[in-house]
């Protein structure tokens, strides 16, 4: 075949952050195929130096507006790990709840606003207002519900306020819990409709097997916030050794780092979690997986969106479970932490290195801080899901392009865009560079 194709998508849309797709096929030969990350570098790790470990959460939640809660939680986990603080059971539960809502919110945003327009053949949700009014209203309603819950729980969803090192500055009261529960009960209907929608979506057929990485642990729960790093290639290591997995290396065309573990690339995120932990999903989510015909292992990255729907069901039900338990047992208001505690030295600090590993909506997120004896950050590192995925995306692209060379240019371009979007990349998160000066202890 002597086909020549040039794909050059500047400022990829409907993803978080700035990226370009470049594909060059000359005379049927793939010469170039890459995802350019052109986001301005943001220097978060550099800016954290000299800051109190108690300020890290406030700052790093600003890495990303979509998964600010996940960043907060990873940051807090790393900070507490570094200074040896163990959070209370109630705090742990509330944090889990927060992450469930975050994933729910983010998956809904992705499914409805970012991915579904492609699958419904339009450019954005705006034309859908006229053609699919109920769908758009449902999406906005569900999103607003998540938002309202976060408002009660942590002040707001974007850059949460009350979730800090040590615990929560504000603890939901009886009536708060009741309000949240009512919102979630009501959301069940919309969730059923979402599942129905997912059933009707046609995803492109494509497979490329890769290594799938996510948190794993020995509890019965779907691992989200605690565990070791596990892989479908059989690896299982402690979170402190995350660098062995992420193995980041710098690529010239991108302001984010690329990663590889056991093989040339790996995937994190909903599909990876599903492939590793699907047996621990909430029964209702398992049922939905069955209805959607999803059985692990799945090697089609386009199906990430479908898995997100399954996870949404899981998160909704998990959140309800946690809340019902809190409702039964009641909350201890006395556990509310005072924000200035660090400054008042009520939580003792010590020198050390701490790692936080949580499952953000898009995959495993690592924060790692080295602090001195006064609790000041000396070194910081954040490894973001998208930067782990980018290498894998490029390899998917390289496999996909030859398979669809018989299609017209626009279709190839669209497929490329859809592929990237399926990963739900979060690019402002992933622009960070760090020459690894970190000393693992």
């Amino acid at each position: 075949m002597s086909r020549t194709v040039k794909v050059d998508v500047q400022y990829l849309t409907r993803i978080e952050g700035h990226g370009n797709i470049v594909v060059n096929v000359r005379n049927g030969k793939l010469e170039e195929c890459k995802l350019d990350i052109v986001e301005s570098p943001r220097f978060f790790e550099g800016m954290l130096r000299g800051r109190s470990i108690f300020e890290a959460q406030h700052i790093t939640s600003r890495i990303c507006g979509i998964c600010a809660c996940a960043h907060s939680l990873a940051s807090i986990q790393a900070a507490e790990d570094a200074i040896g603080f163990v959070p209370s059971e109630q705090t742990k539960k509330l944090r889990k709840l927060l992450l469930d809502i975050e994933i729910l919110d983010s998956h809904l945003l992705h499914t409805y606003f970012l991915a579904s327009p492609d699958l419904l053949g339009v450019k954005s949700f705006v034309p859908l207002i006229d053609t699919h009014g109920t769908l758009v209203r449902r999406a906005l309603r569900m999103k607003k519900a998540c938002n309202d819950i976060c408002e009660i729980l942590v002040g707001r969803h974007i850059h949460p306020i009350s979730c800090i090192v040590g615990g929560f500055t504000k603890i939901p009261r009886e009536n708060d819990i009741e309000t949240i529960l009512n919102i979630l009960y009501e959301m069940r209907n919309d969730m059923d409709a979402t599942v129905e929608l997912a059933k009707t979506l046609k995803f492109p057929d494509f497979t490329r097997e890769t290594e799938y990485i996510a948190l794993v642990n020995d509890t019965d729960g779907y691992p989200m916030i605690e565990g070791d790093i596990g892989s479908t290639d059989g690896m299982r290591i402690n979170k402190h050794e995350y660098r062995k997995v992420t193995n980041e290396f710098v690529v010239r065309h991108s302001s984010t780092k690329h990663a590889k573990a056991s093989r040339e690339s790996y995937m994190v995120g909903a599909l990876a979690r599903f492939n590793l932990n699907s047996d621990k999903l909430h029964p209702k989510a398992k049922m939905v997986a069955g209805e959607l015909g999803m059985k692990p292992p799945i090697f089609n990255p386009f199906l990430i969106t479908a898995v997100q729907v399954i996870e949404s069901v899981h998160c909704l039900e998990e959140a309800i479970k946690i809340l019902e338990e809190l409702q039964r047992k009641g909350t201890d208001q006395k556990e509310a932490v005072i924000v200035g505690i660090n400054e008042k030295n009520t939580i003792p600090v010590r020198a050390g290195v701490g790692v936080g590993a949580v499952e953000a909506p898009r995959g495993t997120l690592f924060h790692c801080y080295e602090v001195d004896g006064t609790g000041k950050i000396i070194n910081a590192d954040c490894v973001i899901p998208t930067s782990q995925n980018i290498n894998n995306i490029e390899r998917d692209m390289r496999k996909l392009v030859p398979e669809i060379l018989d299609k017209p240019d626009e279709e190839i371009t669209l497929m490329m865009e859809m592929l990237v979007r399926a990963y739900d990349p979060c690019i402002s998160c992933s622009t960070h560079f760090l020459d690894v000066k970190f000393i693992d202890k």
Partner: protein, 248 residues
């Protein structure tokens, strides 16, 4: 009257402020009734060069950013600085606490030469800005107010009153009563004392009031036995960019 055409742009930022728009819920549909959103890369694929109002998120941190914002300014009739990063430099300004070369080396290491970066600027340090929506992230009611003024093409000024005023109306126990430093007294209000309502302090994300009192603040800190660094370290988070620089 033709509906005003609105385009969203993002510069160096977390894109959270744009997401706040998506978070408006069904109110968003009411907004779409009164304006045409013609470009919103984060959630839309449509592109155009024809817009009336540019809503710009993010700070200016690369030479390319400077060129791009100037282009946008040329095309837009109205330019709205959207969120702290755009309005006051915001969190990106923390970079200005460090020597530029040094921080570049720290973060890029031996690859420091790949990417260009300049001192963080707020939009109005580079181009003229017509409206400001403050906050990290923006407070949605605040945005709607500005939007309503912008589409009518009448000026809007955020009232130059400290966060404390709203904090008191929300009957929060003052952080200073607990011996904790809070930037409320020197920060421009309008967020309904969001953070303090949730048990945190004010970090000054909306920028400073026009006339913050230095000596008065010092005395307060002395009285409560609060070290100055607690305040300065918070202060350097959002308010570093506008320090000692003139507006366009």
């Amino acid at each position: 009257m033709r509906k005003k055409r609105i385009a969203f742009f993002d510069f160096t930022s977390c894109e959270g402020c744009q997401l706040q728009v998506a978070n408006l819920g069904e109110v968003l549909l009411d907004v779409l009734d009164i304006v045409d959103v013609v470009m919103f890369r984060e959630v839309m694929s449509e592109k155009t060069e024809d817009y009336d109002i540019a809503v710009v998120e993010g700070s200016i941190t690369t030479p390319h950013d400077v060129e791009r914002i100037k282009e946008i300014r040329k095309k837009a009739k109205v330019l709205i600085a959207f969120g702290s990063c755009a309005a006051i430099g915001g969190i990106n300004g923390m970079k200005n606490n460090f020597d530029l070369d040094e921080i570049k080396k720290y973060v890029y290491g031996k690859n420091a030469g790949y990417f260009e970066t300049i001192k963080t600027s707020a939009l109005d340090q580079v181009v003229k800005v017509d409206y400001y929506v403050y906050g990290c992230p923006i407070y949605p009611p605040d945005f709607l107010k500005v939007l309503k003024h912008a589409i009518q093409d009448i000026p809007y000024t955020t009232k130059d009153v400290a966060v404390c005023a709203e904090c008191k109306l929300n009957e929060n126990e003052c952080m200073y009563d607990k011996g904790i430093a809070c930037l409320g007294p020197v920060t421009k209000g309008g967020c309904n004392s969001w953070c303090i309502n949730s048990g945190n302090i004010c970090y000054g994300c909306r920028g400073m009031v026009k006339e913050p009192v230095k000596n008065g603040c010092m005395e307060v800190l002395n009285k409560y036995n609060i070290p100055v660094e607690w305040i300065t370290s918070k202060f350097n988070m959002y308010n570093k960019t506008l320090e000692s620089e003139d507006k366009k």
